[in-house]
Amino acid sequence: MQDTIEVKNLTKKFGTTIAVDHISFSVHEGEIFGFLGPNGAGKTTTTRMLTGVIPPDAGFALVLGHDICRSPVLAKQGFGVVPETSNAYADLTAWQNLMLMGDLYGLPRVRAAQRASDLLATMGLLERKDQKVQGFSKGMKQRLILAMALLHEPGLLFLDEPTGGLDVQSTQMILSMLRELNRAGTTIFLTTHNMEEANRLCHRVGIIRSGKMVAIDAPERLKAAIDRVHRVEVSFDHEVPGDALAGLAGVISVNRTGDKWQITAEDKDAAIRSLVTFGIQNGVAIVTLNTLAPSLDEAFLRLTQGED
């Protein structure tokens, strides 16, 4: 089976900075691929090359089986894009923006109108459809742009930080929409900073640092790869001295965060046992006790902060 996106040695320079440096990866059909990296790592630049907005300086990308440089129109016909910065036409209404997309993707008018009403209804924008986008809030704009990207029912969707700056509700709405689309067969290429989002949504993530791909794997496997110490989080109903906790059997270090103690341990089991004994001996009750799995955040930080 052919991959939906196939990238080989893709490179982009801006003057002397190499924004994207010979990256190669592929995105399989039907998966949600998370593209992660710190600010300025080259995520947007990569997305823009894959969507045919800027030409690469070297390497090539096959998108939906078409070379994005040689047959851009055929490739673009098959995917939808939610770019990093909002870019619906502010002087047009939501409806006119959608109809423009319909025309640009060659949709018959009736079909475009049907899709537009459906999408506006799903996005909760139906009653604002005849208002100019100028007056839309950020979240409304972002939902409209998602609708614009989905109008022609693409099999592949590119999203560059679709939930940046949105509130919980809009974020949840967009994420659950993406999950649903993916269930229906849409392949999704998602750029994000939000590890939690990537962790819950993505089948595989690729991590880019200074233009280079440093890891590609399933989130759980990335986490497992860095899982050498265990962490336990505990809080008590009374103040306890940190030194006393640090001296307990099995505990490597303690760290105070708010009203909780974060404890790293070589042996989770031993640490928890000694914490419980500590509570009984000192007459303090344990309010919360959590074992923390390493987060994708940590995997990410580890992978993106290492020596160059």
Partner: protein, 251 residues
């Protein structure tokens, strides 16, 4: 449906045209500018002119109106859209750069024609006879295509600052008017002026308009039309080629 085929790309170019008209042309100030500018120019003309006949003035005015209106808005469209990031949206849509440029050209062609017809109507209202309407109207269409291609050529420098482009295009547009036989009849031009006039498509258009109103002309009518057609094709091909090259630098 072949998305990359000519007919499909034409249809998408037309969508760009409709978008342009809606966003950039159907605006009060733009329309008012379009209608009033030629009127004021005409009045200025009329007062300052050394008893040139009305037919001469109107012909020049029609030429100038079409030239200014067809090149008024289009040079700024790419910079505007580059700034608003809507250009990035278009770049990721299945439409070629040529089709986008064509769409922008069609919008300014339509705008130019409509405003120019107003000017023609003023001339007719002032009692000017139209001797060769059969030449005038097709030629307005041809020249509008030519001038809108010039408008898009002015947009080639890949800046996203609209005022830069507007400045540059004024700098190029006004001199063109002076060498095109609008203020000074070609017959009275010095020979170096005539050489310059040959290079301006506006010269041929003005000559044709003059022919339509007065029957007089400097070049043979067919030569005028051929020159306009050649300019149109060259400018259209040139602007599409250049925009294809500079577009990535706007992103």
């Amino acid at each position: 449906m072949n998305p990359a085929g000519y007919s499909e790309q034409m249809r998408r170019a037309w969508a760009i045209t409709r978008k342009d008209i809606r966003i950039y042309y159907l605006k009060g100030p733009v329309l008012i500018f379009g209608v009033f500018m030629p009127v004021f120019l005409f009045l200025a003309f009329l007062m300052g002119s050394r008893q040139l006949p009305l037919a001469f003035l109107i012909s020049g005015l029609v030429g100038m109106t079409l030239f200014f209106t067809a090149t008024a808005v289009s040079p700024a469209i790419f910079p505007w859209e580059g700034q608003a990031k809507t250009l990035e949206r278009l770049a990721s849509c299945p439409i070629t750069i040529e089709a986008v440029v064509l769409g922008d050209m069609m919008a300014s062609t339509i705008f130019g024609i409509i405003i120019t017809l107003v000017t023609v109507a003023i001339g007719l209202g002032l009692g000017l006879p139209l001797l060769h309407g059969i030449i005038l109207f097709p030629v307005i269409l041809l020249a509008a295509c030519c001038f809108s291609a010039i408008g898009m050529l002015l947009a080639v420098p890949p800046t996203n600052v609209p005022s830069n482009i507007m400045m540059l295009s004024s700098l190029l547009k006004f001199p063109l008017v002076f060498i095109s036989g609008i203020f000074v009849p070609l017959e009275q031009m010095p020979s170096w002026g005539l050489v310059l006039a040959f290079c301006s498509p506006l010269t041929y258009f003005t000559d044709l308009v003059r022919y339509s109103f007065t029957g007089a002309h400097y070049f043979p009518v067919l030569a005028d039309i051929a020159a306009l057609a050649i300019f149109t094709m060259a400018f259209t091909a040139g602007t599409m080629y250049l925009h294809k090259r500079t577009m990535p630098r706007r992103m």
